[in-house]
């Protein structure tokens, strides 16, 4: 429905953020996805998170692969550059973009077909490298654009809309991300905006590879009985380990928490994440325990959500490569060409 122009009119009383922008300034084109699609809720959460964080709307690079999920960057942050690249290759394109300019915020949007099948390798390697990004998988367990084939995240034994039972084991991207060394790993549900919005904010503020698996039911092809990615199933089986509040700036934490129920994590830039524990034993700094916890709960058919792991001392690919502070794309010939005198020396060494 791109032929419908979005009205530019906005209410004069719309709330503004620290930079003076309204939520409308973070919107994009009108979505062309099915009415009720979980992905549109994620789009709304991204808009909300960027508004809250007072990000300059043009300082984000939105990069995606191919599929329903990968279309969504057109529907938010209309003043940012977007790149709807090649199926399964968002991670490499994002890695390159990030290397070129370390000063932008990189938002990678992908789907389960894009990241768990054709792009499984790129997903894995971008996380291994610690690319500074927010990597969101809009996970619905099916190929929507091609009308309902199972994806690699579909649970074994779950049923397709046509009644076929999935015989293959599922890939749990969260478990893989933990194993690969992601320094921020979370799972949420598109139907739970109060959980998802602060999670996206925290991921954007995280330095390094931040991965969020968002279960996002496909209203057209995967929202029936027998599916484990339907709205009903996820609501019933959602096992949230914590709730998150993101506190930017220096202001003190004013919310009253019951003693012993809150864990505060301070990230690189000073952002504090206040984690209200829902599961008293869950420790977001213990990678090994997180992996075990996930496996145990998955075996019981539960969908564990929340911030599952965070390393506040994380580093990113630029740290590992020891690149200069200035974005590489701003360097000119005088910075990059060693000059003719250096070349004469090289010539002399080759005789």
């Amino acid at each position: 429905m791109t032929y419908i122009a979005k009205p530019k009119f906005q209410h004069p009383g719309l709330p503004k953020n620290d930079l003076g922008y309204t939520r409308r300034d973070y919107e994009g084109k009108i979505s062309t996805l099915c009415a009720g699609c979980g992905h549109d809720s994620i789009t709304a959460s991204i808009i909300e998170a960027c508004f809250h964080l007072s990000i300059e709307p043009h300082r984000v690079a939105k990069i995606s692969g191919i599929g329903c999920s990968s279309k969504t960057p057109d529907y938010f942050l209309g003043n940012s550059h977007g790149f709807n690249s090649v199926h399964g290759r968002m991670p490499s394109v994002l890695t390159g973009a990030n290397l070129a300019n370390r000063d932008l915020i990189y938002l990678g949007v992908s789907g389960d077909g894009d990241s768990a099948s054709i792009g499984f390798g790129q997903f894995a390697h971008s996380i291994r490298r610690g690319v500074n990004m927010t990597y969101i998988v809009e996970n619905n367990g099916v190929y929507g654009l091609t009308k309902g084939q199972f994806s690699a995240t579909a649970d074994r034994g779950s049923k397709s809309k046509k009644g076929v039972t999935n015989a293959d084991s599922a890939i749990d991207l969260v478990a893989i991300a933990l194993q690969l060394g992601a320094t921020f790993v979370a799972r949420s549900f598109s139907g739970d905006k109060t959980q998802l919005v602060p999670m996206i904010e925290a991921a954007i503020k995280h330095k390094g590879a931040a991965f969020i698996d968002v279960i996002s039911p496909c209203i057209a092809f995967n929202n029936h009985a027998g599916s484990t990615k339907s709205f009903d199933y996820v609501r019933e089986h959602n096992d949230a380990v914590n709730r998150l509040d993101v506190i930017t700036g220096r202001e003190p934490i004013t919310v009253d928490y019951a003693p012993g129920t809150v864990q505060v994590v301070e990230q690189h830039d000073g952002t504090r994440l206040a984690l209200r524990k829902l599961d008293a034993d869950y420790d977001v700094h213990d990678r090994l325990a997180a992996m075990t916890f996930l496996q145990k709960h998955a075996a019981k058919g539960q969908v564990v959500t929340g911030l599952l792991y965070v390393d506040a001392e994380s580093e990113d690919l630029h740290d590992r490569l020891n690149t200069v502070d200035a974005p590489l794309n701003t360097l000119a010939a005088k910075d990059l060409s060693p000059g003719s005198a250096a070349l004469d020396k090289i010539n002399a060494s080759l005789r």
Binding site: H58, H81, G82, V93, L104, Q122, V324, R351
Partner: protein, 615 residues
């Protein structure tokens, strides 16, 4: 038995070393080549190596050539036979009257030799074992010992070799002394026990001049440094891995901030070729100069992204060091076999810019230029190297850089231009050259952003499946490709000494063999005008060169006459007028081959008078 007099030559012969790979022979052999070069005599060395690390046969060939013929010659005047596995064919490959140099420690039956060659036995193993006890030392120093013996036989100045060893082991005095000792062990044995010199000798000359000795891959990598590449993503593949290795080494020396020590570059070894080209395209989209280095199989894997680069108009550079295909083919053998695969890479209607450097000096220049072209044209540029120039040291003119040179970043709309009210359409042809403006991500808070996609879109980057909109864009891409014709390096023409109806077209690493073949052909009375193609799309002078001659030979190192097909296809030329001369066995093309093939064809063209046929 015919009495064969030994081949006699000063500064003009071919010596081949037959070794086992992994035995440390490479550095001794390179020392041999460099020592001759230091005596002012041009050499052209070539590694003939297996796709293996240890234990398989490898050869190193040095063409000593006072006349500066740097192409492979064919034939061997002296064989240094150090590999029993290949003994029979090594001995068989020696020219009649040539020399066989071998390790005579163990007796070899007379039937294993030939009577029409001169056999020189040196008990290398015996000399080595009586001096060294450590097995690794024995292996390494044996190579230096044969180098010493050869210096006596061929009259190579031992002081020159000592100096080279000194430069190599500047900081490792112990190694320096032991290498010099080994050199003299071999040399003294030869002087005392053999008739020195033989009839092949090296004499000091002044023919090298200020030329440098360099591998094409290293030169291309240096061109990327000078050309402003800041992002390199690659995946290991023979014969291109040394491009990334060299880029890393050059950057370590030349691209660190002197104050902070931080890197003004980023190199990522990708998980595969798809990731490598994806990183390059992401970086280029975001305004950095980026490249990857690969070979045929890697180009095959990159197809989808190459199409994206073409259609979404994202600059990128691929250095393709060609090897023999198809499939895995012969990974360590040279060919020019990816011309079509690169020119029309990816699905749908595509055309890409190709650059064909002839040697390391041009590899440097074209590599640097490829980034200007990529950003000016906003498209993929292929730098078409091959194993022959990429992985062998080649004598070439010194590298030059104009200090005042600025990079051509192409049409980039800035925040100021946007604020001035300039109309920004990402795919809008504002100048009639088919090239639109682009903006870098993050340029302006409210203007100039767009959504990059591989799907069809209108001039303002808005998604569209309208046929007319699609066709309009495809036509503009053709106009852009026409613009490229005048931006890429032009063909170079050299006319024969006498007016002629015949011409020859060639490109890339064929150059030195072609130049030498022209001399041979002229001696046979065949005169040819030459055109060296340096880029695709073809400049208009290519079509006029063909039009100006009755027949034009197209010399290539592939089976299917790929450049010829491209010329026929792009210029609508009658294929009959382009005669393919094809060499594709994986060895570098030689002057003997070219002269033979063209000479035979020319002889056939000579009209025999009817009277003669009747009588």
């Amino acid at each position: 038995m015919s009495v064969q007099s030994p081949i006699s030559s000063v500064n003009d012969f071919v010596i081949r070393f037959a070794n086992v790979n992994g035995s440390g022979s490479a550095s001794a052999n390179e020392l041999f080549a460099r020592s001759i070069l230091r005596m002012g005599v041009p050499v052209s060395p070539r590694n003939i190596f297996p796709s293996n690390i240890q234990g398989l046969p490898t050869w190193y060939e040095v063409r000593v050539t006072e006349d500066g013929h740097l192409g492979a010659r064919g034939g061997v005047d002296m064989m240094v036979a150090m590999n029993p596995q290949t003994w029979d064919r090594d001995v068989a490959s020696i020219e009649p009257g040539g020399y066989l140099f071998y390790d005579s420690t163990k007796p070899i039956p007379a039937s294993k030799f030939r009577e029409d060659i001169t056999v020189i036995g040196v008990p290398l193993t015996a000399i080595t074992n009586s001096t060294y006890t450590d097995p690794r030392q024995r292996q390494l120093f044996k190579n230096i010992i044969y180098l010493g013996a050869l210096s006596a036989l061929l009259e190579i100045d031992p002081k020159v070799i000592e100096q080279l060893i000194g430069e190599q082991y500047k900081t490792k005095e112990k190694l320096l002394a032991s290498n010099v000792h080994a050199l003299h062990l071999g040399r003294d044995w030869a002087l005392q026990n053999l008739k020195c010199p033989i009839t092949l000798t090296v004499k000091k000359s002044e023919k090298v001049g200020d030329r440098i000795f360099m591998e094409g891959n290293s030169a291309a990598a240096l061109g990327a440094v000078y050309g402003g590449a800041t992002v390199c993503a690659w995946y290991p593949i023979t014969p291109s891995s040394s491009v990334a290795d060299a880029f890393t080494a050059h950057c370590k020396k030349l691209r660190h901030d002197p104050e902070t020590g931080k890197a003004k570059y980023a190199i990522v070894q990708g998980e595969d070729e798809l990731a490598s080209i994806g990183i390059v395209i992401g970086a280029s989209w975001n305004g950095a100069r980026a490249f990857t280095a690969t070979s045929g199989p890697g180009v095959s894997l990159m197809q989808e992204f190459i199409g994206l680069s073409y259609f979404a108009e994202i600059p990128a550079v691929i250095m393709n060091v060609q090897r023999a295909g198809p499939s895995t083919g012969m990974p360590t053998r040279t060919q020019q076999c990816d011309v079509i695969a690169c020119a029309y890479a990816s699905h749908g209607d595509t055309k890409h810019v190709l650059l064909f450097p002839e040697d390391p000096a041009e590899a440097f220049e074209f590599a640097a230029q490829s980034f200007d072209l990529a950003e000016r044209l906003q498209t993929m540029i292929f730098l078409m190297l091959d194993l022959d120039i990429g992985m062998n040291h080649r004598l070439c003119r010194p590298l030059k850089w104009d200090e005042s040179r600025e990079y051509d970043r192409g049409k980039v709309m800035t925040a100021e231009m946007l604020d001035d009210g300039r109309d920004f359409g990402r795919y809008l042809d504002v100048d009639g050259d088919g090239i639109p403006f682009r903006t870098y991500p993050g340029t302006h808070p409210s203007k100039g952003s767009f959504f990059t996609r591989g799907t069809s879109r209108d001039r303002y980057a808005r998604y569209s499946e309208d046929g007319a909109v699609y066709a309009d864009n495809m036509q503009r891409l053709l106009r852009k490709f026409e613009t490229a014709q005048d931006l890429v390096p032009r063909p170079l023409q050299a006319n024969a000494q006498k007016p002629t109806k015949y011409g020859v077209i060639y490109y890339g690493s064929t150059s030195p063999a072609m130049d030498e073949a022209i001399e041979i052909l002229e001696k046979r009375g065949h005169h040819l005008d030459r055109l060296r193609i340096r880029a695709f799309p073809f400049h208009s002078s290519v079509a006029s060169f063909v039009a100006d001659h009755d027949f034009v030979y197209v010399v290539e190192q592939n089976r299917d006459a790929q450049l010829r097909s491209l010329i026929v296809n792009e210029n609508g030329i009658d294929p009959v007028r382009l005669v393919p001369i094809l060499h594709y066995d994986g060895t570098p093309i030689t002057a003997r081959f070219i002269a033979g093939a063209i000479g035979d064809h020319q002889d056939q063209l000579k009209v025999t008078p009817l009277k003669k046929v009747k009588s």
